[in-house]
């Protein structure tokens, strides 16, 4: 499972982002997205496009953790969202690893990755890394989000952090990485 985590301000400005891979079940913590390296912007596009859903969900759902809210099927990218009370959005894109057999779709283009990929890996196990929509995953993501949120609050309390500014704190980055390693 590869992850792309982004914090966006209420006006969609990116405050923080980080890509990492799972550390569970032998993962090395390195993200391997299905998009080719030259197309990493796709992560941002997918996340950005899910804001349509976030905006809607935030009025329908009083919780901070909105769970899995959106999917980008062509790349089996799942988006989970967490909203701080002030409207900052935490968005986590998680993507199961590309199953080795997916070349059948001719997957050259971005648009033709895999549904089948999602379902086949779903079958393999119910561990966090394998199934993006299982209750275990939801729970793990929730824990992750909460931990990041705690650290986020501390970070933005720094007098040198101005609202809406990119979060460049290495401490925060470390904390997020740790949270990722711990939960995802």
């Amino acid at each position: 499972m590869s992850y792309y985590f982004t914090i966006l301000s209420p006006s969609d400005a990116p405050l923080f982002n980080i890509a990492f891979g799972t550390s569970k079940s032998g993962g090395d913590g390195i993200a391997r997205f299905r998009f080719p390296d030259s197309a990493q912007y796709m992560n941002q596009f997918v996340i950005h496009s899910s804001l349509d859903i976030v905006e809607e969900a935030q009025w329908m759902n009083g919780n901070m953790y909105l769970k899995h809210i959106d999917t980008y099927p062509p790349a089996a990218a799942y988006i989970s969202a967490f909203l701080t009370p002030s409207g900052t959005r935490f968005l986590l894109l998680h993507q199961p690893p590309q199953p080795p057999s997916t070349s059948s779709t001719g997957g050259s283009s971005l648009l033709s990755s895999s549904f089948s990929g999602a379902s086949s890996s779903r079958a393999s196990s119910s561990s966090v890394a394998a199934n993006p929509t299982s209750p275990q995953t939801e729970e793990a993501v929730r824990q992750f989000m909460n931990e990041v949120y705690e650290n986020y609050v501390k970070t933005i309390m720094s007098p040198f952090y101005r609202q809406g500014m990119e979060i460049r704190s290495p401490v925060f980055r470390t904390k997020v990485t740790a949270a990722g390693r711990k939960w995802l």
Binding site: M157, S158, P159, F160, S169
Partner: protein
């Protein structure tokens, strides 16, 4: 007066005589002041340190009255006792912390305060401009406070930070040196 006694006094005063306010409020207020100074002085951190010290000095000169009124403690017998009073009573009642007094010089004129915790610096991360980490003493106001307060009780001291966890150091340490006792002037009221 022993260190433990000082601690007891501090504890007692903290419980009974001090009005508490929200720590985050203090933290944010102080942080904002520092950040604003940095902005006003265009990230000239030496100047910011100076200003913080000056502000602290002004605070200290007033704060000592309040301290003495609340604590009702007598004149300290020596500089060592003063150090304990600062650490265990002063910091305790104003900030609810008790820095460790250590690293005395043999002449008992210099000591260090080691801050295990520092409410002013909660949440703080120094600007990552490559200089703040080396130049800014974020909590420099403490130095001024001590200087101002002790001057009012006939001690001329010099205080400065030598390390700060905010800069990535292992400890936050302030060095305090007694320059001289000011003999010719008596404190305004005393017991």
């Amino acid at each position: 007066m022993s260190t433990t006694k000082a601690s007891r006094i501090g504890e007692e005063l903290w419980k009974t005589r001090v009005d508490k306010i929200n720590a985050e409020l203090v933290t944010l207020t102080y942080g904002t002041i520092v950040a604003q100074l940095c902005q006003d002085y265009d990230s000239d951190y030496n100047e910011v340190n100076k200003q913080l010290d000056k502000m602290g000095y002004n605070i200290g000169m007033r704060l000592i009255e309040d301290f003495l009124a609340k604590s009702n403690v007598g004149r300290c017998a020596n500089f060592r006792e003063t150090a304990d009073m600062i650490a265990k009573v002063g910091f305790k009642i104003f900030l609810n912390i008790s820095p460790t007094v250590t690293n005395w010089t043999s002449d008992n004129n210099q000591f260090s305060l080691i801050f295990e915790e520092n409410p002013l610096a909660d949440f703080v991360e120094l600007p990552d401009d490559g200089r703040a980490q080396d130049e800014l003493w974020f909590s420099n106001i403490f130095c001024g406070v001590l200087r101002g307060a002790l001057e009012m009780v006939q001690m001329q001291i010099e205080a400065h930070f030598v390390s700060d966890v905010l800069r990535g150091d292992d400890t936050t340490e302030m060095r305090v040196s007694l320059v001289r006792y000011i003999e010719d002037e008596m404190p305004p009221e005393e017991e």
